[in-house]
């Protein structure tokens, strides 16, 4: 995609991705079909057609994970899936025990659930990552207790791209008969996930991270004894009563097709991302006092997170315009704090503030990466030229 000087260069695909043209067409076809609006819970012929379309999409999504279709529960997105998994499992199993385990580097859609459960009287063990961002399985082992009911550790971190060893984590949990949930919002559709080989019980995913529509997600709920959830809302038999309410047929159709397309493109996409990430990193790594956040080996290639010493995070974001990237700076987040993920990995506040997350998509090309290199280099050099002498090296962790 060629870009003129001031045209935005979108490198924020970890936040959301554009809807694939084929997905948009399938959704439009549903919306424009004379009876495509029919309620899938209705028993008449039009309702049955909608129900069939939903079940087809469920099959497509199940295929992405090598799951059984009835193990897929449609939700509004990964945030709702995380809420359903965490609250649902904790409350369902509360009589057996009230101890839960998660990590400090999880997405807010997970951490805030656990904070709420703490207020309900559950006890939560918060595990810190290693400096690499990875969880040491031994630390998880030692955190587990006889009354532990749920472990929630994400697959790919949304800020750093760190890929946790969820196979080991899941195996540890399964051996202790503890439910294991993973927020796979950043990995589903991008990395191969086979729930037949991976003993995960609950897996959250969302369509808009892999070229599906926003507003639709799913929770994989393993069909095995003990893996049951208390619903968050009540009001009908839909989605096995775990998520009642009229199903959004066109959204679900789009989600199903996006899953099918993602599965077909996964290998090519990852190779493409790896080349782009390497080109970008090689283009900026010679700048003094640059830090790549997260282990180089265990990261999803679609994300590169970089901090620079001696620059202000908010100024970096303005300096790199017209790049559309994400920032670790307080001024650019709605929370008002610098990245808690990077701080948990041992970054200083200054280093976390200066962090920029680049994330790549299918349509990202070399010219966009070259633009990113040029803008990033300019921003770092410009801001350092403005900084009082001695500050540039003083703020590094």
């Amino acid at each position: 995609m060629a870009n003129s000087a001031n045209q935005p260069v979108y490198l924020d695909y970890a936040a959301t991705t554009p809807v694939d043209a084929a997905v948009a067409a399938a959704m439009s076809a549903c919306l424009e079909s004379p009876l495509g609006f029919a309620n899938a819970s209705s028993s008449h012929v039009a309702g049955r057609q909608s129900a069939a379309a939903i079940e087809h999409a469920r099959t497509q999504l199940a295929a992405l994970l090598n799951a059984k279709p009835h193990e897929i529960v449609f939700t509004s997105g990964a945030t709702e899936s995380n809420n359903l998994a965490i609250f649902g499992a904790a409350r369902q199993r509360a009589r057996r025990g009230r101890h839960l385990v998660t990590m400090t580097t999880e997405h807010k859609a997970v951490t805030e659930c656990f904070e709420a459960l703490e207020r309900e009287g559950f006890e939560v063990t918060w595990l810190d990552p290693e400096v690499s961002g990875l969880l040491d399985p031994v630390r998880l082992q030692s955190a587990l207790r006889d009354d532990t009911q749920l472990v929630s550790i994400m697959h790919v971190n949304n800020e750093t791209g760190i890929v946790q060893d969820i196979e080991s984590i899941a195996a540890i949990c399964r051996a202790r008969n503890i439910l294991y949930h993973s927020d796979a919002a950043q990995s589903a559709g991008k990395l191969a996930i086979d729930v037949n080989k991976l003993p995960v019980d609950l897996l959250s995913l969302t369509a808009h991270k892999f070229h599906g529509p926003q507003g639709i997600g799913a929770l994989y709920v393993a069909d095995r004894p003990g893996c049951r959830l208390a619903p968050l809302i009540y009001g009908g038999p839909q989605e096995r009563r775990m998520r009642p309410g009229t199903q959004a047929v066109h959204q679900i159709i789009g989600f199903g097709l996006a899953a099918e397309l993602a599965a077909a493109r996964q290998v090519a996409d990852v190779l493409h991302f790896r080349k782009l990430r390497e080109r970008l990193w090689q283009g900026i790594r010679d700048l003094p006092d640059i830090r790549r956040n997260g282990a180089e080996v265990h990261t999803f290639p679609g994300i590169l997170n970089v901090s620079a010493g001696g620059v202000d995070g908010e100024s970096m974001m303005l300096g790199v315009e017209p790049l559309c990237v994400a920032s670790g700076a307080a001024c650019n987040s709605q929370s008002g704090e610098s990245s808690y993920v990077l701080r948990a990995m041992g970054c200083s506040d200054a280093s976390a503030q200066s962090a920029i997350r680049f994330s790549f998509g299918r349509s990202t090309d070399n010219s966009e990466i070259d633009k990113a290199i040029e803008r990033y280099r300019w921003a770092v050099q410009h801001l350092r030229s403005l900084a009082p002498s001695g500050v540039a090296t003083a703020i590094r962790a």
Partner: protein, 127 residues
């Protein structure tokens, strides 16, 4: 979300002509540095001949608004009498640069630096 940066802030941020060190030597060179707990640092330098601020320069590790405010200050007071520094009004800077309310606290750091500069110039002139 509204663009938090006015055209003037963007212009000063990209091309701050008063950023850097004093270009010449003057009968009196005064510089001050202030910082806050959020990691913002601002440094002001004044080259003074007689009672005139012949040259004003700044350095900053700061957000775009503070960088722009420092540039605006230097441009506005360069060439004026040292006593004019007391006329600095942060509200006028906020108004002129259209700085969002949520960022006005940052401008107080510039005000602190200017007060310190005034104090140091006063001390120098009495010594």
């Amino acid at each position: 979300m509204q663009d938090p940066y006015s055209n003037r802030v963007r212009g000063y941020f990209v091309n701050p002509v008063h950023a850097g060190n004093l270009q010449k030597s003057y009968s009196s060179d005064v510089s001050v540095t202030v910082d806050d707990r959020q990691g913002n640092t601002i440094q002001l330098a004044a080259g003074i001949d007689g009672d005139t601020l012949q040259e004003l320069r700044f350095r900053a590790l700061a957000c775009p608004h503070l960088i722009a405010a420092a540039e605006y200050f230097c441009g506005r007071f360069e060439g004026r009498a040292t006593t004019s520094l007391r006329e600095f009004d942060p509200r006028e800077t906020v108004r002129e640069l259209q700085i969002p309310v949520s960022k006005t606290g940052r401008i107080l750091l510039l005000e602190d630096a200017i007060q310190l500069l005034r104090q140091k110039i006063g001390d120098n002139s009495h010594s």
